[in-house]
């Protein structure tokens, strides 16, 4: 079983959901990326999603777009991503790393070469936002050859039949998109997310992580009780450092505190069960 599979297995037996923060690699420099990942790991992140910036991120809202622009304009390259992952591993952080990107940077490097390199530096999975199951065979093969999981997306508009097909091919976990739209922090969990999680849990037992719009503990508890095995938080974290005028140390402290809170909300299942037991 992959490290990601084992992570979800262990969380399930301890009655927790996975906390999966998204970090835009190279935003504020790769030095900051490493520090941020270290902070998040310390705060209890179970898996890290590391974004490889792309110039034309059409599934992302303004927050992640701006982060990608900042990273790319400071000279970030695909090699910088691999170097950053190496440094994270050298730092002794062993959490599974999912690289989230768009397909073109992968195609440019060569799908096989990309997967080989990612595996070599210690990455665990790849998620290409604009690669639906119809087009993903080449990546599936290359990822499989290199022991990487391919994380697939499902959306509120994905039919049951299609969701069954996607989940049937799933490795690691499936990423459920909470809304029909783009990434960006929101305050509450939309109804579309709750009904999607319900549908997916009836279709398959593959772990499902919910993302797009996650920013607070209330949403996390709602997601977990609606059947999610984990949550992905991206834009909200980026907002915390990009909109702050505080020094780096204070910002990282704030992020750590916030992320501990999010992580604690993923323990809602066990809390709920404990409460039931008490009653």
């Amino acid at each position: 079983m992959s490290l990601i599979g084992a992570t979800f297995g262990a969380l399930k037996s301890s009655g927790e959901g996975a906390y999966i923060p998204y970090v835009c690699c190279g935003d504020r420099g790769t030095e900051f990326t490493v520090k941020l990942v270290r902070t998040l790991a310390k705060a209890g992140a179970d898996i890290v999603e590391l974004g490889l910036p792309f110039s034309d991120p059409l599934a992302d809202g303004p927050t992640i777009q701006a982060a990608m622009v900042r990273a790319l304009s400071s000279g970030f390259t695909t090699q910088s991503l691999f170097d950053t992952i190496s440094r994270i591993r050298d730092d002794g952080i062993g959490k599974p790393i999912v690289v989230m990107t768009y397909y073109n940077p992968v195609v440019r490097m060569g799908v096989d070469a990309f997967c080989e390199k990612l595996s070599k530096v210690g990455g665990d999975a790849v998620l290409t936002v604009d690669l639906p199951i119809e087009e993903s065979r080449q990546l599936d093969d290359a990822a499989g050859d290199n022991g990487l999981d391919v994380i697939r997306l499902v959306a509120p508009t994905t039919s049951d039949a299609r969701a069954r097909e996607i989940m049937g091919q799933a490795t690691g976990f499936v990423y459920a998109v909470s809304i029909s739209g783009v990434t960006g922090a929101k305050d509450t969990l939309p109804d579309t997310a709750v009904s999607l999680l319900g549908r997916l849990s009836r279709i398959s037992s593959v772990p499902v992580a919910l993302g797009f719009g996650i920013s607070n503990q209330g949403q996390v508890r709602d997601a977990i009780s609606a059947g999610a095995s984990g949550v992905v938080e991206g834009s909200a974290l980026i907002n915390m450092y990009s909109q702050s005028s505080q020094d780096e140390e204070s910002v990282l402290d704030l992020i750590e505190k916030h992320s501990r809170g999010i992580k604690s909300a993923t323990r809602f299942i066990s809390d709920e069960e404990t409460q039931k037991e008490r009653l």
Binding site: D56, D130, P132, E135, V154
Partner: protein
Amino acid sequence: MTADGYFGRFGGFYVPEVLVFALKELQAGYRRFSQDSDFKDDLHNLLCTYAGRPTPLYFAKRLTDVVGGASIYLKREDLAHTGSHKINNALGQALLAKRMGKSRVIAETGAGQHGVATATACALLGLDCEVYMGETDVERQKLNCYRMNLLGAKVNVVRSGSRTLKDSINEAMRDYASTSDHTHYLIGSVVGPHPYPTMVRDFQSVIGAEAKEQTLAQTGRLPDALVACVGGGSNSIGLFHPFAEDKEVQMFGAEAAGEGIETGRHSASVVAGREGVLHGSRTLILQDDDGQISETASVAAGLDYPAVGPEHAFLSGIGRAKYSAVTDREAVSAFHQLSEAEGIIPALESAHAMHLATIVARDLGSEKALVVCLSGRGDKDVDQIARLEGML
């Protein structure tokens, strides 16, 4: 082409999962209505009574004499309603959107011609219309912006990325991801995921179908060559496609060399691009070694796009069509040449085709004939040219 929207290895369906449902619905809708005789009759009727089709095929005798070579025929898409070939596709897709029960249409636009055509079709059919236009393009095409407003459309100024056509497509896709239940995304070129490259080509093929009939009627034979400009490549594919099986007819595409290929400030994706995936298609793209999309340049806003329709990548690969790049300077010179020789002011996009046509005409020599797609009229560019030449 295969059923999956592939042209050889180009094309395909590279989209986020949030767009899959809407695009499959569109594929099914297009499959259904493209074979529906009522739909085809309605569209044909609109093209004839509203859009001014068929557009003339005009023998440019004075230009032919000046150039000295093959006879140059102009397919006068500039005389279509709204001033360019864009109306052919806009009417087709707007009619389709209406049949599919959509109440709102969104579009991207570069030069503004597609935005104006879409706003026009929406006004005609009673559909809400919003057009995404890059801030850079809004500045150089102010008049088209105002025209869209006059037609009742809302123009959303795009300030992300390079603020040109590619960024407008990104924004329109983001809008579509959250609104596709009631919105149709009316893409203006033969780019994007399946079914767009096929559907837009089919709606634009009226250009080539008419040109074929008209050349036969006027000269008694097929032309020896076809010439058209290529940004995303809709007017060119529209002209080329009906001649695909006529192997004796050569095809030439004029891309934008901007300030020169060697300067890196151009938009010539077939000539200088590399294979990749952008906006839903595998095609030829101007990009760096890491697969980041390059910023492009051209005096013609409508050609200022870092990729090309996948069918052009395919036609280039198999050698069926030849692509070369025309600089800003050459295009501006052709703009003047046609204005003076024939009393026709071409769009700057079409001026790229006019320049290439003069070269092809000389190469072919007299006794031969070629058809150039004069894709749009140049009124929108007069202000820009006047400023460029210090007249304003």
